[in-house]
Symmetry: D4
Subunit: 152 residues, 8 copies
């Protein structure tokens, strides 16, 4: 049963989102991947967020560009922690998505990661840090990875 | 029966939104004002947008700051034209809201106005331009205003 | 008889403007395309805007980069709604055109879309939202498109 | 025993950090507050981060401005989740701290909140979302708060 | 007979424009001051620019904020040199007007000065440099001023 | 005898500066081209500016990137009008040079053009506008060019 | 005999520059303070830089805003290390001076500090770090200061 | 025995860092090169900085991108002068690293160079300027280089 839901706005974001899912695998975290858009398919997003906790999900990761409303839309409906990855596919190349993802109003936070591929990978690691508080296997996987980083 | 719905994220935005409603009055446009937030009360936003056309509304105006998802959230649910006013109450003073409002993905546009009070007033005038295509009294009110601008 | 006038500053913008015209076709909207520049051929722009309403046009769409004065120049002369697309051909890649298009002074609004190809497509959809208030066939075309988006 | 460590660079940040601690109290979360700086007292930061997990802390919150290295310095030493609040006390008013906080390299994420007081409050709520996965009382406190937001 | 026309968008800009006119007086340059707007009174702007050379004007100075189309609108109609002062009255505080003033398309230049009061004064000095090529009294006035700067 | 001095920081800028010199030829303006740098060869810049007027030059054009001090260095030494072209060869791609060129302190103006090739061409046209006040052949060349633009 | 020359563009910068000189005193460094401008009094700047090393100066500190050419102008004439403080007195509030100070072309570096008062103080500390390589008393003064920071 | 330590975050930065080391060779400066990261291997960074002075190093050069904490982390631990090179490998292309490198808090300065390859080379030259105060051979090497620049 997946602990993390990874949501992208468009199938075009798939290559970057694979950076996230590779990290989740490395961190021993079960996940599911969905394509839905806060602007094009808001009901899907709403239903997904609404049922996420009951379906056993514990962290949501959302990748979006431009106005980048996806992470905020999920956060507005669930009380699970949401991690946002600002993507670069708009013509402003991610500075728009960075601001839209980070500048959430008080009460409904989103954890904003770095723009693009750095953020895509870090979304996976941040999910591991959160879930590592509860699941020893995940904590150990992340600690092993950090140890390797140091030893490399 | 109101033709325009003016929606603000927070009662704190009321002074700026009065710039919009004064223009709507000057343009002979009936309107209603609501306070709701894409992030704090997403169901209210969804229901409002979903029923807007059936209730006779023809244009929606949304004022929001920071991530500024309100205009986009309305646009994702209704097919009425939505006008967005980027507000300045976040610490980034509106450049964030400008990008979040303008950079909508293809398929679900928002008409982005200028940041702050300029945009608040222009949202009213733009609604008049749109509705002026259909209602002669509104078209004439806007044309009179433009004539006065020239004569002043 | 065209309802929408699509104006570009230069023939070099043609590929992006085709994103707009493809959407207008999909939305069952008759349109005309013109090349003229607020800075190089201001009289053309003035005459076009001045006669636009009488010639039956109801919405103008302007694509411009850099100082991007085209949309504002049209809006200063007509009282029809104007939609602006900030283009990316200047060395500042569209952030200049975004600000120049959005930051219109009170009284003469322009509906600013996203920078580049996202905005080019959304200009067509926004025209459909405006005209859909008056023409059922256009409203239905846009609603069908939105339904498809959801079902895809 | 505190679950959350709130660290600020300087006592001057105290008023904003109280926005965080008020939220933590409202969320039924025990916390401790420390003043230390990644640049002025790096050993303190290192020791704090190194012993954080063993002392029972589960989430760290760091408020910093300008180069804003505090959150990243904590994250480089602990494997606990770190939440960063970009502060506005430098002359660039927070855009510098936003980028410095969000743009972490792959492997060592920081959850970047909004600039200034919005982010200060959201750091508290995000800590509640994370800890709510493990502690029912915290989850319920945050859900109650969200319910109130909707009902207000 | 005035050699320089100083045009401002709005009477609200008068205090800053007085920085320009004080310099023009100091430089022994006759000038006239007008209030007109590229967006609100485009015909006035057009007529002013069209007749400027025949009325003996040799340099135009335009102060505008936000989309800041005034200098470009003058330049599009006259072949006299136009100097643009990016003003700060929009909520983006002049970065918008700087880009809109400087980023003119090839063929129709505007000489962009610094944002705000620095630029208001330099517009006067730049007019003196241009006119000093033709009028000895103006050249000497500017050279005297520069000598004083060095001696102060 | 050249009326315009075109100065570039480095031979690498030559292709863009040819955009300027082609325009000067088209405008019937004699010019000279020099390579010198405000930072690497400041004495050359100083001597060039100091003797410019006596050698018959009437306008200086400077192309520089990054800190882009060249135009300002010339303007600090001569009282001739200086036109600055912000170049794009630094890693910040011209936004740095735009600010450095435009933001001159009161007393010593530089006429800032658009970034890159647009500005390179407009520097030539602006020189023609300035010199056209004094030389009929140049005025007519620029007026002919503008007429062609309109007729094209 | 002073080791450090502190140069400001204008007496208006005096309050901020006192942040620098207070640090220099605390660091046991003899200094001199001068007011001169790269744009208004370039010969002064040139002569000052040219004779600086022979007069026993070892480090130059320059505070400037806007185009902020002062530090670069000094660096172009002396081979002593130059420290630049980007000031905030232009309407762009220091982002212009930051870029102009940092983006020096290869061969003639400037050490750019933070914008405004942070940078003013750090210019003094950086001078102490440089001079501490050669003068034990200065090295110890800076090390004492750092020790105090840690102990406070 | 090396006088300068050149530290890069990742082996991927090696090509740019070679711009630095080539300059150091040209300036007759012995150096060592290390790969370590403030975020991935903070202990290495700490130990390196702590022992730097005792090992005879006199200047540290750090190249980092994104949050770019490396230079600041070194500066927080050593009292040697640190030179920071903002790199471009994050998706924000160096504007993030420029701010993170320059905006250090009072007490712990970093000398920020230009973004990317300009800065990489200038880091070498700035080290030569600093060390030239103490070592005649280095001073002469830099003075020779500057003389060549002028003569070229």
């Amino acid at each position: 049963m997946p602990l993390v839901g990874v949501i992208m706005e468009s199938v075009l974001d798939d290559p970057l989102v694979q950076d996230t899912t590779k990290v989740l695998e490395q961190m021993c975290i079960d996940f599911e991947v969905r394509v839905m858009s806060a602007h094009l398919t808001p009901e899907l997003v709403h239903d997904y967020a609404q049922t996420a906790r009951d379906r056993g999900l514990e962290v949501l990761i959302a990748a979006a560009s431009g106005s980048a409303a996806l992470a905020g839309a999920l956060a507005s409906t669930t009380t699970l922690p949401v991690i946002g990855i600002p993507m670069t596919s708009s013509e402003l190349k991610g500075i728009d998505a960075l601001m839209a993802t980070a500048q959430m109003p008080p009460g409904v936070p989103v954890a904003c990661m770095a723009v693009g591929s750095w953020g895509a990978r870090n979304a996976g690691y941040y999910a591991a840090q959160i879930l590592g508080l509860k699941y020893d296997i995940i904590r150990r996987a992340y600690e092993d990875y950090r140890r390797e980083l140091r030893e490399r």
